[in-house]
């Protein structure tokens, strides 16, 4: 899965979860740019990403996710490690 594919999939999750069918996800976006991305929804977002990509975040990693770019990097990194194994 390329970085572009992952971003597309992330966009779909954001749209579904936050009920924003027209959302265009950009790597620079953070919680400040999306009203619905509050702390409660962040928990849900993380769980849904884990489910969709069949990955598991480290407790420390969840703390570090500040924007879409961070998220993307983390997911791609985990998917690559999974493939290497």
């Amino acid at each position: 899965m390329t970085e572009a594919d992952v971003l597309l999939k992330l966009e779909e999750i954001f749209r579904d979860l936050f009920d924003l069918p027209d959302l265009q996800l950009d790597v620079s976006m953070s919680a400040d740019d999306i009203d619905e991305w509050d702390s409660v929804n962040h928990v849900m977002l993380v769980v849904q990403i884990e489910r969709e990509f069949k990955i598991k975040f480290h407790t420390a990693e969840v703390e570090e996710m500040k924007n879409v770019g961070d998220l993307l990097k983390l997911v791609v990194g985990k998917l690559n490690t999974a493939t290497l194994r």
């Binding site: 009920d19 928990v43 489910r51």
Partner: protein, 630 residues
């Protein structure tokens, strides 16, 4: 993660598309459409989406619901809001409306006790208490004296019971108490309970006592600890989620949690389902009775698949014992469909267990409508179990109010699937539940028959008893061996025979090995008596005579003696010698042979006492049986 899927609900491939069409629906149609969509196999995301649609379309309960809207306050010591969507959808699945109180977690004491609290203004009619172990056992001390541990548990329980009582007196509401999730890692190991103050052991004690006290106080339980046992703790609880968001119940468990709350709320309104309608071929036994015949269907001992079907029948029978009405809906000739119920040795379900038996070649939706009419219950009280996806789907389409669980391919998992769906959720067992089952009914009829009958003979006559006898058969060998080896009371000599021993008797013409089966108007009691006699010089020596105590007092022994005498004559004997060997348990038959007209023979100081009956002077005893040879 997948272990908490709502596996009994069908996948709906067009689910996401359906969600989009809601804008086109009239308000009155929208609710029904939402209920249908809630009855699909939803996960976290689809549950959230459906809940969002529900709240968009309905700000309050639709009018004319058949169920009472519920105002539920979920009061917890940790975050519970993430479960709300699941609860609303779990109720929607059952055609119910739930409003949920939005409180702050950890505020439950003030919520209850402060008359000016937001909760008081909101006025719940149901309160669900959800406490986490870390909160309840804060300050636990490993290694403290056992007494201190006991006092700690007692104090927590007193606090909880106090909350129940306050909540009830302030709000007059129903109370649901969630049992405590066993989240603690073990310190001591297998014998954790031997370490005073060990938190894992304390949680177990808490749950024990919550159960006891809830029964006394009329509080309904949500047994979360049992679910953790069934699914594994990790399915229900993720410590990472706890640290991240103080969510004790895992977000991915939310749809299942909500369904459990939904079934409890429905049960409290008497909306649990009441009747299980069963298909026959490949649902209650393996194979097709019409094709494979009575000897060809797979059921019972000696075959893993057959045992799996037996196990399912046992579960169904137990359901009927707790008050679930059973019905049959099969595409079959009625004669064929009834055959296993009447003749198959390994059927656990009997014709008597089935309140309404529908076997025809018409479609099953029509048949189920007729069953509901006959039993005078609503279609929404019915669960329909069928292995055939075609039949399941047509019934779902025609009768959406009937619950139709997905059944796994392997019958070994049928019972678990039906149990997991929680269709028959019970709150309290009533006397009425018990009497609803046919087994109990039959017993009550027997007893009342005894009252109204003027004397024993006419009562026995009214039972329409038939005694089917035969020499030992290969087919019944296992049952015969079992009876010989476990009967202690009505057993004249208590001589045990192995399977091999019994096998040797089958074709020996100098032996009289008899098995007796009793059928009465209440059903087939199975093989209930056994006699083994050996022919030695014109004498039949009765080595074994035993009977199941279930059929005492019916003069079965008179009829058995008739059979024995007739067979002894046929073998050329002119007398019977009965043997009695006293044991600690068989004193009830000490007079057995004398009562039957035998004469005691002089004591030869052997272990057995011996009694003689001359066949030339024997006169048939009066009995109330039709005697037939099988």
């Amino acid at each position: 993660m997948s272990s908490l899927e709502l596996t009994w609900l069908p996948q709906q491939s067009d689910w996401n598309d359906s969600l989009k069409y809601f804008t086109a629906l009239k308000h009155s149609e929208a609710w029904t459409a939402l209920v249908d969509m809630a009855n699909a196999r939803l996960d976290m995301m689809t549950t959230i989406k459906l809940d969002r649609q529900l709240r968009k379309l309905f700000k309050e309960s639709p009018v004319n619901l058949q169920t009472k809207p519920v105002r539920l306050a979920m009061l917890g010591s940790s975050t519970v809001d993430h479960l709300h969507a699941g609860i609303r959808v779990g109720a929607l699945r059952r055609n119910m409306w739930v409003s949920l109180y939005q409180g702050n977690y950890g505020q439950y004491v003030q919520d209850i006790h402060d008359d000016g609290s937001a909760l008081h203004a909101w006025a719940p009619d149901t309160i669900l208490f959800a406490f986490d172990a870390r909160h309840l056992l804060a300050g636990y001390h490993v290694g403290e004296p056992a007494q201190a541990s006991e006092a700690r548990v007692a104090a927590v329980i007193d606090r909880i019971v106090g909350l129940w009582r306050s909540a009830r007196s302030k709000f007059g509401c129903d109370i649901i108490q969630q049992t405590i999730l066993p989240i603690y890692a073990r310190l001591f190991g297998e014998n954790e309970n031997r370490l005073p103050g060990a938190p894992a052991a304390l949680v177990a004690r808490l749950n024990e006592q919550i159960r006891t006290r809830a029964l006394d106080e009329g509080v309904t339980l949500l047994s979360l600890d049992q679910w953790a046992i069934e699914d594994g703790l990790t399915a229900w609880h993720d410590p990472a989620m706890w640290h991240r968001a103080k969510q004790e119940v895992h977000l991915t468990a939310m749809p299942m949690y909500g369904d459990i709350v939904g079934r409890i709320l429905a049960a409290q309104q008497g909306k649990s389902r009441k009747c299980l309608v069963l298909d026959l071929d490949n649902t209650l036994w393996g194979g097709v009775i019409g094709d494979d015949g009575i000897d060809g269907i797979v059921l019972g001992q000696g075959n893993a698949l057959g045992e799996a079907f037996s196990d399912f029948q046992r579960y169904v029978k137990d359901l009927s014992r707790r008050g679930v009405i059973l019905a049959v809906c099969s595409k079959n000739d009625e004669k064929n469909a009834l055959l296993p119920f009447e003749q198959h040795q390994d059927m656990i379900l009997r014709r008597d267990d089935i309140a309404f038996f529908s076997a025809s070649w018409g479609d099953k939706a029509t048949a189920i409508r007729a069953i509901a009419r006959q039993l005078n219950i609503g279609l929404d009280a019915i669960v329909f179990a069928d292995d055939n996806p075609f039949e399941r789907n047509i019934v779902r389409r025609e009768l959406p109010m009937v619950a139709v669980p997905e059944l796994p391919d392997d019958p070994a998992f049928y019972a678990a699937m039906i149990a997991r769906a929680g269709y028959f959720e019970g709150i309290a067992m009533t006397a009425e539940d018990a009497t609803r089952t046919q087994q109990y009914k039959a017993n009550i009829e027997r007893e009342s028959g005894r009252d109204s009958a003027t004397d024993l003979p006419s009562y026995l006559k009214s039972l329409d008893m038939t005694l089917h006898w035969s020499r030992f058969t290969h087919a019944d060998q296992a049952r015969v061996v079992q009876l010989i080896n476990k009967t202690n009371q009505f057993n004249l000599t208590t001589r045990r025979y192995s399977t091999e021993d019994v096998g040797k008797l089958l074709d020996n013409s100098a032996v009289l090995p008899l098995q007796m089966r009793l059928v009465d108007k209440f059903g087939d009691n199975g093989i209930i008596s056994i006699v083994i006699g050996y022919l030695i010089e014109k004498t039949i020596n009765l080595d074994t005579w035993l009977m199941s105590c279930r059929v005492l007092g019916r003069q079965v022994e008179h009829a058995v003696l008739d059979i024995v005498v007739e067979q002894a004559r046929r073998m050329g004997a002119n007398r019977l010698i009965g043997h009695f060997r006293p044991t600690e348990k068989n004193s009830m038959v000490a007079e057995h042979y004398l009562r039957l007209g035998f004469t005691a023979l002089p004591d030869e100081s052997g272990i057995d006492r011996r009694f003689e009956l001359r066949l030339d002077t024997y006169q048939t005893l009066p009995t109330f049986f039709v005697i037939t040879e099988n």
